[in-house]
Subunit: 354 residues, 2 copies
DNA sequence: CTGAAAGCGCTAACAC
DNA sequence: GTGTTAGCGCTTTCAG
């Protein structure tokens, strides 16, 4: 078969052999230049680059992957939703992957589809990736999967077994604690909680943090209300909470839900923060511009993503070494105006703080 | 070289030859089964599948791509930001691509990096894709690029030349018009505009729509204020607007900016909607739960993404046929409580509507 | 520092 | 319906 050159149909793309010929070197040398390998004289390198430029040559990735066995690509399994938290984490992950010199393959899951994580991972494996990151997975029960590339679980425990597992939390428990403690420090007798869907590990962790903080101060956690992250679900929870005159402080597991809670509270005639304090979670910057500006907890999306990807890449490139220790990102509470001390008449018996 | 089988290191992965041998057929037949080609007897198909299952066989994508010349993959160039609009569109695109049977490669651009679109496209081409989606690009001036796969420009005109170009708007101009007309219909003498960054085509289109609507009613557009999509920039614009007693209606090019505008207006003692009406853009559902619930324009993210991807896939798979006509998604104005007729004292001379 | 030979695992085209 | 023969364009190994 003769390669078409120009003429009729789409001209065949130039191959490394064409570049080699034009530059008067071997194909292997062209390969060296394009892989930034050492031991190529500056002069040869220049000639090769010039020839490639003229020919409009581009490395053929499929051939490279096939020959080398490495894809230089990382797969991301992500929830197909557009909320601020998920989207932010995702953007951070993508940037970290690109900065690490890997390309990105993405497959979104549809929340609720049982077994979707498994099929997403499977798809990625078939596409060819050197590592996988699972972002904020939802609990799907047992997942039977044989995976032989390193996997990073971000914001969740490992939900299936792999040869090399990396986890890097965003520290949801710590953050849930911080939110609750802030309210307690303000003098509230207890803190109510509007949780995220408990199928989410992130939601569970925040709830744990809330419980732990309460317990440490010798309080028992009141029943929590479970939302679905949406403002609408927060609103529904808020209506319920508003009917209970003893609630003076609520920690919502997401900013949007917090907004819904506040809306319901105010509709019911309860002032925020004078009558009841509300803290959110995520620090969507827009909520500095609502009334009242929302007190919230900032998630270290960037730090967690960078850290996680760093570890993942380490696991990919140095399979024999141990993983370096993960650092714990700092907790950041953003105090604005949706929280205040409880109203005087509801004040509990004075007790020493801590 | 002898292939390692089990024993020490990682056992070599099974190849189609292994499956073929086990099933007692040729490699080509295995290939047929895994590509859902016709002309394979049900019995043979079953045998092949069983053998593959037992061996844990998985198609090697790199080899497949190299041999077939088709990647079955679409590249997405996307802005690396987490706002509701961008993230929603993105989720819709991803779903549409997956539903069309393609895998997804993503490269994010960093807003502001001149020439970033070019390098993103280049990277995608090198990774190997059958088509490219450019989502909501920012104007980067001349982009010199030789691209020989079909390209879909979503929410923008084609920003560089390609062999096969597909565009599919989200209809920003129409939508900007709808927002403005709503305000005019309410009786406002004019409508002020807080625009998005004019490097964005989407921002420009909305501004055009605003201008056109005003012009049609014989009004001249007042100067607009340019924001950066953030609530903070909307807040700054709102302060400016608040100092002008003649403004009674403002159309903000994004929901977040609208929230900022409202916040500033109220701080300055102007009531919304009694004194001034505000409409946003995007329909982030959370803004149904702020005070006042925001009137906004819903973007047909899903429709635009599905339509666009459908056309792109058509261009990929039937290069000789003409592109089917794109349908125009319906305009949806979500009227809530941030808009009302102008205050009586500022009422302009009565004029017939339409 | 550079080159030659030998595949990587699959599909294309055609034969049977 | 199914098998055979050639590559796809690169990297690997090993010589020099």
């Amino acid at each position: 078969m003769v390669r078409e050159v120009g003429q009729g149909g789409s001209p065949a793309l130039p191959r490394s052999a064409d570049v080699a010929q034009m530059a008067g070197v071997s194909r292997k040398t062209v390969s060296r230049v394009f892989n930034d390998e050492p031991y190529v004289s500056a002069d040869v390198r220049r000639r090769v680059l010039k020839a490639a430029e003229q020919l409009g040559y581009r490395l053929n990735n499929a051939a490279r992957v096939l020959a080398s066995g490495r894809t230089r690509s990382i797969g991301l399994v992500t929830l197909g939703i557009a909320g601020y938290g998920v989207a932010s984490l995702r953007v951070s992950i993508e940037r970290a992957i690109r900065d690490a010199g890997y390309t990105l393959r993405v497959v979104g899951t549809r929340e609720g589809d049982q077994g979707d994580i498994a099929s997403a991972v499977d798809s990625l494996l078939e596409q060819g990736v050197d590592g996988i990151v699972i972002s904020e997975p939802v609990d799907e029960g047992e997942i039977a999967l044989r995976v032989d590339v390193p996997v990073l679980f971000l914001g969740a425990p490992a939900v299936f077994a792999t040869s090399r597992t990396v986890t890097s939390g965003v520290g949801s428990e710590l953050l849930g604690r911080a939110a609750t403690e802030h309210l307690l420090d303000l003098g509230h007798a207890t803190v109510h909680h509007v949780a995220g869907p408990q199928r989410w590990y992130a939601a569970k962790d925040r709830l744990e943090g809330w419980r732990a903080a309460l317990k440490e101060r010798g309080k028992t956690a009141p029943p929590y209300i479970e939302g679905d992250w949406s403002a609408a679900s927060g609103y529904a929870a808020g209506r319920e909470l508003a009917s209970d005159p003893t609630v003076t402080a609520v920690f919502a597991s997401g900013d949007d839900m917090a907004i819904g809670v506040i809306h319901a509270l105010r509709e019911a005639g309860r002032r925020v923060p004078q009558d009841v304090s509300v803290v959110g979670f995520d620090d969507n910057p827009v909520y500095a511009f609502v009334a009242p500006p929302l007190t919230t907890v900032r998630q270290p999306f960037n730090a967690a993503a960078q850290e996680g990807v760093r570890l993942l890449v380490h696991a990919i490139e140095r399979p024999d070494e141990d993983l370096p220790a993960a650092s714990v990102p700092p907790v950041e509470l953003i105090v604005r105006s949706s929280t205040a001390p409880p109203p005087p008449r509801e004040q509990p018996t004075a007790r020493p703080t801590a």
